[in-house]
């Protein structure tokens, strides 16, 4: 449905993004993820039409839209700062796009009420001034406003980053629900990897104006294509050269290049394994531990490497500091970059 080809955007001489390519299918929830300044918002704004690419094309249903002005693109967009019109009531904010389409009063009212229902705003709130609403409510208004004209594609520019953690989680689920209910295609910009993993069908990880990897959340997590992606998504332990050498020594083949960098995700380090496992047992010393209720984390030292491991609490295991133990690392879980 949406096809971005060889996209490049320049600010004066500075190349903000380069060589960006991706495709989004209809009804998909597609996330652009990356640290700030990586070019994800720039990409989104060029899709919206606020920025004009210096190279490349943006095709929607096979048609290049880069020369179509913003207001004719028929996209919805939700902003980080909500960008609600301060001089209008909640109702007028939601109705704004419909009024531009010159819909009849009754049509507008019907649609606004429908949207209010969708985003769970009540009628009393509709008559209020936007500044009288809480942050979460304001974001609901922003969503309703963006959806008013039933756009096929909705762009989200870090819409939840200004909310507190709990509200963020709650609205995240709601966004997903609304996306499913309306069947829209969502392009979502965030720097929050948990959010990206939870909400997306596909993720494009941006770094330094380029896409590092595109894939489903699981692909990105389990098979991070680059060291950057590996570090940016989830938590990973860096494995030192001594430990890699040790693992190389204890496996059939010399499978790891000692010159490369190696990582393993915290939860992939096991304290016990089935007997048919390929995992390499390693002696380690516990340095510190924290109890989180359903799980605990331990900091262990093994050869030249400090590892953080996650252990699911079943109520039976207690691990003391300074205790020696054996940990298991399955070579297939080790991510290798460069070399």
């Amino acid at each position: 449905m949406i096809e971005i080809r060889d996209l490049q955007i320049k600010y004066d001489d500075f190349i903000a993004i380069n060589d960006v390519n991706f495709e989004i299918k209809e009804g998909e929830f597609f996330t652009l993820l990356g640290p700030s300044g990586c070019g994800k918002t720039t990409t989104l704004r060029s899709i919206a039409g606020f920025l004009k690419p210096s190279k490349g094309s943006i095709n929607v249903n096979g048609k290049n839209i880069i020369n179509i002005p913003v207001e004719k693109r028929e996209l919805g967009m939700i902003f980080q700062s909500y960008a609600l019109f301060p001089t209008m009531s909640v109702y007028d904010n939601i109705a704004y796009g419909l009024k531009i389409e010159k819909r009849s009063k009754s049509q507008i009212q019907e649609r606004v009420l429908e949207l209010a229902d969708l985003v769970e705003l009540n009628e009393e709130q509709l008559q209020k001034n936007v500044s009288d609403l809480s942050g979460g409510q304001q974001q609901r208004v922003a969503i309703a406003r963006a959806l008013a004209k039933k756009p096929n594609i909705v762009l989200f520019d870090e819409p939840l980053s200004n909310l507190d953690a709990k509200l963020r989680k709650q609205l995240r689920l709601e966004l997903k629900r609304i996306q499913r209910e309306t069947g829209m295609t969502a392009i979502y910009v965030t720097h929050d990897q948990d959010e990206a993993l939870e909400i997306s069908d596909h993720i494009a990880v941006f770094n330094d104006g380029k896409i590092e990897q595109i894939g489903t959340p699981r692909e990105i997590y389990d098979h991070s294509a680059t060291e950057f992606v590996c570090n940016f998504i989830g938590e990973a332990n860096s494995i030192g050269s001594d430990l890699i050498q040790y693992i190389n020594d204890h496996t059939d083949k010399n499978r790891f290049n000692p010159e490369a960098k190696h990582y393993i995700r915290e939860e992939k380090i096991k304290l016990w394994v089935p007997s048919n496992s390929q995992a390499v047992p390693i002696n380690a010393t516990v340095v510190d531990g924290v109890f989180y209720g359903t799980f605990s984390t331990y900091i262990c030292k093994a050869l030249d490497t400090t590892l953080r491991i996650i252990v699911k609490e079943d109520g039976n295991t207690t691990i003391d500091s300074k205790k020696e133990l054996t940990i298991y690392i399955d070579p297939k879980d080790i991510l290798e970059y460069g070399g």
């Binding site: 004009k52 919805g76 700062s81 704004y96």
Partner: protein, 608 residues
């Protein structure tokens, strides 16, 4: 369409660009034919004598101790004033908006009085208190009979008057800043164990820092351009602006005026650059999205609380007594006025009856209201558009220069700009589409408009910083055209500032005399002309009384204007733009940077 230049403009619709290009052409025409050409012509006219450059003005000025002293005095005044005005200004804002002071509403009225009570009239009022026959002087004389009754003169007197007269900007802008503070940050600081003073010093002031810097610069400029106070109470303490006005009025001395004015103008431009830097550094006042309104802080220390209360009310009296006396004296007859004695014996309504019964006085009032009102509205609308262009193309050198060119009127006194227009267009000119400015009705409002541009642009630009850039994007993506976005979204958001500016500009030019005398159309004399006619000391011994009555009338008109346009307007505006309660914007709520009216660029209200 692929060049990077076009990306800067971010506009991509051919059709919607037509008005944009037309507007660009209009700006280019305006700058070229109304700002650059006339001023070059007037400078050439002044400095080119007999076909060669004459720089004798430098020589004549440098030989004049008086002129050099005046320049130094202006800078001295500006420097010291910066400190005193900001102390008083900050105090009155904190007293009315931040601390829990009993009767804050009443105090606010007093502190806001300088909005309408300014210029010569204000100085006159202060003299009724501190002057030779002033109320306070008489009291002091009873205690210290040997005291010099003329004690209120020179630098200290000028400093005193201006310290209180120049806090208008604080009441407008710092007040908005304090109102925009996030109460949560204050509570957080208290929670971390800060006492009230620490909260103020470590949380409140740093948050307000950009506004305060702007105000520091504005105070400095007010000091530099000081006009009314040095003339009225300065005595031997002379400053530049009265000299400039003086020299401007004599054709042979105009080169001196131009030179002095350019000195002042450059000081202004340097400050402007400093201020622009300050703006660029960021206006990020608060990143909180769910801001809570500041709860007025009760001062915990009872002694301190008492002191602050007393101070606030003393200041209130300092602000209000001169105003009250001006109003009262306008009801006294000439004996009462000239001896500064308030007494029922001298009470008379004749002063008012004379002026109000004369129907020919209403025409000029109406003319002045239309001229300065029209110029004010158009100047604000024009600068809203220009500021938008400038803000949208921040990195574009052309846009940057466009902005600076609009500050040209700061470089020369109004009279000289008027002269430039006359020199350039005293016969029908193609640049004015076959019109000539001489003898036209619209040249006077046009000059008003030109003189209003620089400070209007400053303030409007500041206001643009105060709201979310995404608003515009949001509107566009909902299908709204650029023009519709501008009218429905941007204009309403700018409205409180725009209206305040209309009112300020209106007041500045309502009673203009110097420009009027030069340019008014015979069929439409202005208020300034009418005042002079009725209050010319050479022809009317009653001049002082007539002046007082006019002062009171002008204050009344200004006050009404402020009430209609700003008082009520800003309440609605504030509510709508959400300044009061929660905040949706990252940028500062209101960092309105502007450069105050200086005697150079604006004629003082009530002068002459």
């Amino acid at each position: 369409m692929n060049s990077s230049k076009i990306t800067k403009f971010r506009e991509s619709n051919y059709l919607s660009k037509i008005p944009f290009y037309l507007f660009c052409i209009f700006i280019a025409w305006f700058i070229l034919s109304l700002l650059i050409l006339p001023n070059i012509n007037v400078l050439v006219d002044i400095f080119w004598v007999d076909g060669q450059l004459s720089l004798s003005a430098f020589d004549r000025l440098s030989r004049s101790d008086r002129a050099i002293r005046a320049v130094l005095n202006s800078f001295l005044l500006a420097s010291v004033l910066t400190i005193t005005v900001n102390i008083v200004g900050t105090f009155i804002v904190l007293a009315t908006e931040y601390f829990d002071i009993k009767g804050a509403k009443l105090l606010r009225v007093g502190f806001m009085s300088t909005l309408v009570f300014s210029g010569m009239v204000l100085n006159n009022g202060y003299l009724y208190v501190y002057g030779q026959n002033g109320v306070l002087t008489n009291l002091l004389l009873q205690v210290f009979p040997n005291m010099d009754p003329n004690w209120f003169t020179g630098f200290p007197a000028v400093l005193f008057v201006m310290t209180f007269a120049c806090t208008t900007n604080h009441m407008l802008f710092l007040r908005n800043g304090v109102k925009g503070l996030d109460n949560n940050t204050i509570e957080a600081a208290k929670n971390l164990g800060s006492n009230q003073w620490q909260v103020l010093r470590q949380i409140v002031f740093p948050t307000l820092f950009p506004v305060i810097i702007t105000l520091v610069i504005m105070s400095f400029q007010l000091g530099l351009g000081a006009m009314a106070a040095p003339t009225m109470v300065g005595g031997e303490f002379e400053t530049i602006s009265p000299l400039i006005l003086n020299f401007t009025q004599r054709p042979a001395s105009r080169d001196l005026a131009a030179l002095l004015s350019i000195i002042l103008g450059f000081a202004q431009i340097i400050l402007l650059i400093v201020m622009t830097r300050n703006e660029k550094k960021g206006n990020f006042m608060s990143i909180s999205k769910t801001k809570t309104r500041v709860v007025k802080q009760k001062i915990e220390n009872p002694v301190l609380n008492g002191i602050v209360h007393v101070l606030a009310y003393v200041l209130f009296l300092i602000y209000l007594i001169p105003l009250v006396l001006v109003v009262l004296f306008s009801f006294m007859n000439l004996q009462g006025i000239s001896q500064s004695i308030l007494s029922l014996e001298y009470f008379t309504l004749d002063n008012y009856a004379d002026i109000l019964s004369n129907r020919s006085n209403f025409g000029p009032l109406l003319t002045s209201m239309v001229y300065s009102g029209g110029a004010a509205v158009l100047a604000v609308l024009f600068m809203i558009l220009v500021a938008r262009l400038v803000m949208k193309n921040k990195k574009n050198k052309l846009a940057e220069w466009t902005e600076y060119l609009f500050y040209i009127p700061w470089l020369l006194p109004g009279l000289m700009i008027a002269l430039g227009l006359i020199i350039s267009y005293d016969s029908p000119s193609l640049l004015l589409f076959g019109n000539s400015v001489v003898g036209s009705v619209w040249i006077l409002p046009l000059i008003y408009l030109i003189m209003m541009l620089p400070s209007t642009l400053r303030y409007i630009k500041g206001a643009y910083y105060s709201f979310d850039n995404n608003l515009e994007d949001a509107s566009r993506i909902l299908g709204s055209s650029s023009i519709r976005t501008f009218v429905q979204v941007i204009l309403p958001a700018l409205l409180p500032t725009a209206l305040a500016l209309v009112a300020l500009n209106f007041n500045n030019f309502l009673a203009d005399y110097d420009l009027s005398a030069f340019l008014y159309h015979p069929a439409y004399p202005t208020l300034g002309i009418a005042i002079r006619k009725n209050a010319d000391a050479a022809n009317n011994v009653n001049a002082a009384a007539v002046n007082l009555v006019y002062s009171v009338i002008i204050m009344g008109v200004s006050a009404i204007m402020f009430y209609i346009v700003y008082g009520r307007g800003s309440k609605i505006g504030e509510r709508k733009s959400g300044i009061k309660k929660s905040k949706k914007v990252i940028k500062a709520p209101v960092i309105e940077t502007g450069i105050g009216d200086t005697g150079v660029s604006d004629p003082t209200t009530g002068g002459k």
